[in-house]
């Protein structure tokens, strides 16, 4: 049972329903206007208050392309944190589900759209990176349906068993994030995305991260890790890498240039490549938009330890598109470095001064919290929030216009 808090727009009071109940015998639905499909976050644990979307708009869909696994979780956790709340697997469902749900956001792993399970791929001789192993028709159908406000039965690909499990029900959230290897591969799916991000990790950094991940495992050695990356590289370069050109924002992670020759892989150089002319997205800039800046914040006002921090900003072209590139090389050691840097960046879409710093501090235990990866992931999170709010505002204003002209 529950009570709906309704937000009245001139069009109609949005209906609500209690999401958490759908799997059990009873479904309790409170509808005000059956023309709208309900779109709500999780019911609060008190069981009484239900938060509903007041927008007559559609679900906002974000695409995130990244290699290796879903729950490119650091990014996801930062993103869901910007919106508030923690993302968790669906309660009471398949424990091997790859889906994450928070109050506002649902994150879907695109591995769920594998058309071939592990045995099937072995038989056909295709890797998971190969488009032949994925059902793009189903992906398109379902993402489209969710965007239009309809719930779907999405398959589950079980990474442990390598099998396709029974589907799980996905209700349309306010924000849908599709994450995986091929969010921008299929043209039709691309056209559904309101914003897309590509996480581009350079070979050296990828190698370093995989060593970090795998060396403790029995069975793995430097050679096996290297061999695994090498073997996957042709398919990766052929099918995954080209998606970069379609992304609205690319986060490129490279080894640092601040430490000559020797690089333990600790310090990173991270570039945020932002496409110009994207609807509802204003690129972040340093000092003077459209000009070329090179900035070392460490000096008289701010002391940094070796190797310090270096920023650059400037316009560029990327795969024939106009882009703005903001780059950070080095790492933050102290809070005041972070706030200092934040105070000099513009178009952050922060709601208050210091919001970026606050978000970074909130998750200071996450990897990348002291360098550009954390910083740019946080900034992209704020940008997505801004984009979402703009889309919602657009959606809310049009029904109002319709009624006034009628009168």
């Amino acid at each position: 049972m529950g009570v709906c808090t309704t937000l009245h727009t001139a069009a109609a009071a949005p209906p609500c329903h209690l999401r958490g109940f759908y799997q059990h015998k009873q479904q309790v639905l409170f509808y005000r206007n059956t023309a709208y499909t309900p779109r709500c976050g999780r019911a609060h644990s008190a069981g009484l208050a239900v938060r509903c979307s007041g927008a007559a708009g559609e679900t906002v869909v974000i695409g995130l392309a990244a290699d290796s696994g879903c729950g490119k979780s650091t990014f996801m956790r930062r993103l869901t944190s910007v919106f508030g709340g923690a993302a968790e697997p669906p309660r009471g469902g398949n424990p091997d589900s790859n889906t994450l749900i928070s109050d506002t956001t649902t994150v879907i792993c695109l591995d769920d759209y594998h058309s071939l399970d592990r045995t099937g791929r072995k038989e056909k001789g295709v890797t998971a990176l190969d488009p032949r192993a994925n059902d793009f028709d189903l992906m398109y159908e379902q993402v489209k349906a969710i965007k239009e406000g309809k719930a779907v039965d999405k398959p589950i690909y079980n990474h442990v068993t390598g099998l396709l499990d029974q589907p799980e029900l996905i209700k349309p959230p306010k924000i849908l994030v599709i994450e995986g290897l091929h969010p921008m591969f299929d043209q039709r799916v691309r056209d559904l995305l309101d914003f897309s991000i590509y996480l581009d990790i350079s070979n050296e950094v990828k190698f370093a991260w995989k060593i970090q991940r795998d060396m403790a495992e029995r069975g793995h050695s430097l050679e096996s890790i290297k061999a695994s990356i090498e073997a996957r590289k042709p398919d990766f370069d052929a099918y995954i890498d080209p998606q970069k050109q379609y992304a609205d924002a690319v986060i490129e992670v490279l080894p640092t240039q601040l430490i000559p020759d020797d690089n333990e892989g600790k310090v990173l150089r991270v570039r945020l490549i932002m496409k110009e002319g994207v609807k509802n997205f204003a690129p972040v800039y340093l000092f003077d938009e459209g000009s070329t800046i090179s900035w070392i914040p460490c000096g008289r006002k701010l002391t940094c330890s070796y190797p310090g921090i270096k920023f650059t900003y400037g316009p560029d072209t990327y795969y024939d598109h106009e882009v703005s590139v903001l780059e950070m090389d080095g790492q933050f050691d102290r809070l005041d470095e972070l706030i200092y840097v934040e105070s000099h960046l513009s178009n952050l879409s922060a709601k208050f001064y210091g919001e970026v710093t606050q978000q970074m501090l909130k998750h200071s235990d996450f990897p990348g919290s002291n360098n550009g990866t954390g910083l740019f992931q946080t900034i992209v999170g704020l940008k997505i929030r801004d984009l979402y709010e703009q889309i919602v505002a657009e959606g809310a204003s049009s029904p109002l216009k319709a009624t006034t002209t009628k009168a």
Partner: protein, 135 residues
Amino acid sequence: MATSFFSPLSFPSVLTPPCQRSGLAGFHRDTMRIRREAAAGRTLTVRAMGGPKYMGTHTREKKLAEMIEEKVNDAKEVCEGDATSDECKVAWDEVEEISQAKADLRRKLMVEKLDPLESFCSDNPETEECRIYED
């Protein structure tokens, strides 16, 4: 071949998050060592903090570790013949998939401190999988 990678000597302490740079890195290493020793049959004297709560998750973790070893060996065998063949690619792709699955599970248990079977086991506490795992 891997000519684009920098030498193995230059990346040991890679990209550890701030919290792991000091004591916590040691703790993580110790936890992994304890697990390896336990798996090798030696007695466990310390119960590591974090880690699987339910039997089912422990079994799954063990299984994934075994699979990694197995699949790495398979891949090495398959690739001996022709390192550019489809079979070789697929074999290493499987290794990657399992390695990532194991890493995801480890992260869930160690960092998020959430056993994936939590919600299933709160509804079905009597099943074998939901027995509380004790070392």
